[in-house]
């Protein structure tokens, strides 16, 4: 399966298993979603469980919070992460805090799915990576898969979770892994080991990182599309990197990070999101606090620049092989 099919399969499996699961969002019903993630679900489960919504993100999330209070398990879709901001009040002030402020009387077991990330010439409003906004909010979990297998298993785990989950889907790798070389033909997931996806139910637990590549020279912390760019870059440089695909940013698998950095003594953090106050800053602080005496070089970050996401200059902006390669060389020199 490609990542879209894996996500579609996760939704199908959960709707089959749990009558409380409902899917809602702009164009998700009859049409099956602008990325096809919800294709066929309305036909199979009916309009009471899969329905199109008006174009109002604050309404979509607000209504989903109310449905959660009733006892349903909504899976709302925000068409692009760039358009999640109108729903921030409902997510930050309501969904994230409902359990806390009501001391558990009411919960918001939502899974907010949203395509995110760049590398598709999406320009300013179809490319953003706003995960740092949500990792800063207490009460929500933030999950970002990088493979079809994880996308399905993590999405099932997110839907079953009783806390609100922001589930960001890297749209650059919906149809195939991306190595960062934008000028080579696109690849499909066919033949990729992580594209072997079981048809039925399985979970990938939230809060657990995946060792995408074991190694000794340095630790690279990344997630989403960047996992593939990093894998390819380290292979090209023939560097024995240990690559951790974090998968869940909150709660974070701190043990896996600590174990790896203490082993390698070096750490690089890579994300597409802008640099200042991005999630990389939190990772850097945690590694510095916990692995200080094991570090043999300053921790480096390769991130998007502190600018809006540009259209024509996308490949200068994107943390691709050149920038990652230079950072690795610097860390290994230090």
């Amino acid at each position: 399966m490609n990542m879209i099919q894996a996500i579609n399969s996760a939704l199908d499996v959960m709707m089959e298993r749990d009558p409380d699961v409902v899917v809602m969002g702009e164009d998700v019903g009859f049409f099956g979603g602008v990325f096809r993630a919800t294709a066929g679900l309305q036909q199979k489960y009916g309009k009471n469980r899969v329905f199109d919504t008006p174009i109002t993100e604050c309404g979509i999330i607000g209504v989903a919070v109310g449905m959660g209070a009733y006892g349903l398990r909504p899976v709302p879709e925000i068409q692009f992460a760039d358009y999640i901001y109108p729903a921030l009040d409902q997510l930050v002030s309501e969904a994230a805090r409902l359990r806390y402020r009501s001391a558990g009387e009411y919960i918001a077991p939502l899974t907010v799915r949203s395509p995110f990330g760049g590398g598709i010439f999406g320009g300013q409003t179809h490319s953003q990576s706003p995960e740092g906004i949500f990792t800063h909010v207490s009460g929500v979990k933030t999950v970002i898969p990088s493979t079809p297998y994880d996308a399905k298993g993590l999405l099932i785990a997110a839907i079953e979770d009783n806390d609100p989950v922001i589930f960001f889907e890297p749209k650059r790798i919906y149809n195939g892994p991306f190595d960062g070389h934008y000028d080579t033909p696109a690849r499909s997931w066919a033949g990729h080991p992580q594209a072997q996806v079981p048809a039925g139910y399985y979970r990938v637990p939230l809060g657990a990182a995946r060792v995408a590549r074991a190694g000794e020279a340095l630790t690279i912390l990344c997630y989403g599309t960047m996992v593939h760019v990093v894998e390819n870059t380290t292979a090209e440089l023939a560097i024995d990197a240990e690559i951790l695909d974090l998968r869940t940013l909150v709660p974070l698998d701190i043990d896996a990070i600590e174990r790896s950095v203490k082993k390698t003594g070096r750490c690089l953090i890579v994300h597409e999101a802008t640099r200042t106050s991005g999630f990389g800053a939190e990772l850097l602080a945690l590694v510095q606090e916990r692995c200080f005496y094991h570090l043999e070089a300053p921790i480096e970050r390769v991130t998007g620049f502190d600018t809006p996401y540009p259209h024509s200059l996308e490949w200068a902006y994107f943390p691709g092989p050149v920038r990652i390669g230079e950072a690795i060389k610097k860390i290994m020199r230090d």
Partner: protein
Amino acid sequence: MSDRPVADAGKDQPGRNLPPLRLHVPEPRFRPGDHADFSDFAIPPAGAMPRPDEAAAAESFRELAYGLVRVLDEDGQAVGPWDPKLPPETLLKMLRSMALTRAFDARMFRAQRQGKTSFYMKSTGEEAVSIGAALALARDDMCFPSYRQQGILIARDWPLIDMMNQIYSNKGDRLKGRQLPIMYSAREASFFSISGNLTTQYPQAVGWAMASAARGDSRIAATWCGEGSTAEGDFHSACTFASVYRAPVIMNIVNNQWAISSFSGFAGAEATTFAARAIGYGIAGLRVDGNDALAVYAATRWAADRARANGGPTLIEHFTYRVEGHSTSDDPIAYRSADEASHWPLGDPIARLKQHCIRLGIWDEERHAAMDKELAETVRDAARAAEKNGILGHGLHHPMETMFQDVFEEMPWHLKEQQQKMLDEWKAAGL
């Protein structure tokens, strides 16, 4: 393409025979020092509004959205097609709940002034809005209130001591001292957790109602916001969703004329009524005398019947007046005429219902005075019992480590670490 010569931009527009544009900034009629005079306020007569069938098309509500449904006339008689013809026990329960709410407000306001809690908000003058509605709904209909509908809990016989424990943030507080006073949550009373963020409860109520409908349930939802809060985007999205899915929801706008210091003109009241907003959404809209408990009851009952029959949502504007300051942190003397409340032409909701009950021969002044005395004692006794659980700042709160609970269902490592660090620091400091 502008026809204005570039050279003229920013000048006094020579050669243009047009008056200068003017920005209209609304201004309330009376400011501090002014004598409030509502003698020109044409009180629409009680009983004059038609009562359409519950299945009537939303587009036919123009008259009701711009008019004012009133049942109790100046003599305390119930008149017209909206008279809900309630039995005496319901009328007296309504009167008692309103009086209890006022007594509760008085006591808790005083408790804040005595330093027993940080904050309080009264609902004086608006008791009919929440109690009339609560009594017209089924007990398991879900309410999504704002912060000024404490009357719903009181009408649903929620224990006063439980409300007070919340206000005192003490060890008996079901919300563990996490919430600002009056932000109640009472699931067993079908009363949704109150948020400080305005109007967020509106789309949530619609979503709850949609879930109920999708499940083939028979319960409906009701929500409340102030007229000031209708300006929030959530109001618009809630109305759109409610209309699109014909959600079984009652959306109440409590138009008490004031949003803290801003008069209703800043929410658009100079141009139209709030009930009239329903028309554009294709929702039934009723405008009701919010100081007339029978009108509130009748409108709510009508809307509930409509919703239960899959007739869709209703928007009800309750026209009332915020008699007191916005909160214990507010002094209305600074922005409005001091005598506005006493001159408010629609009177006091408790006095009007009392007059009606006396007129029916089911009540009298002696019984009313005795009830007021009894309710004051009830509230006093509840307050004394609640204070035994602690008052704010006197240490009888939930244990510190509970601060970290319920952020998530299970506490993740980073919260466990922060919790332990806090406890260690206090211990190391010898506290």
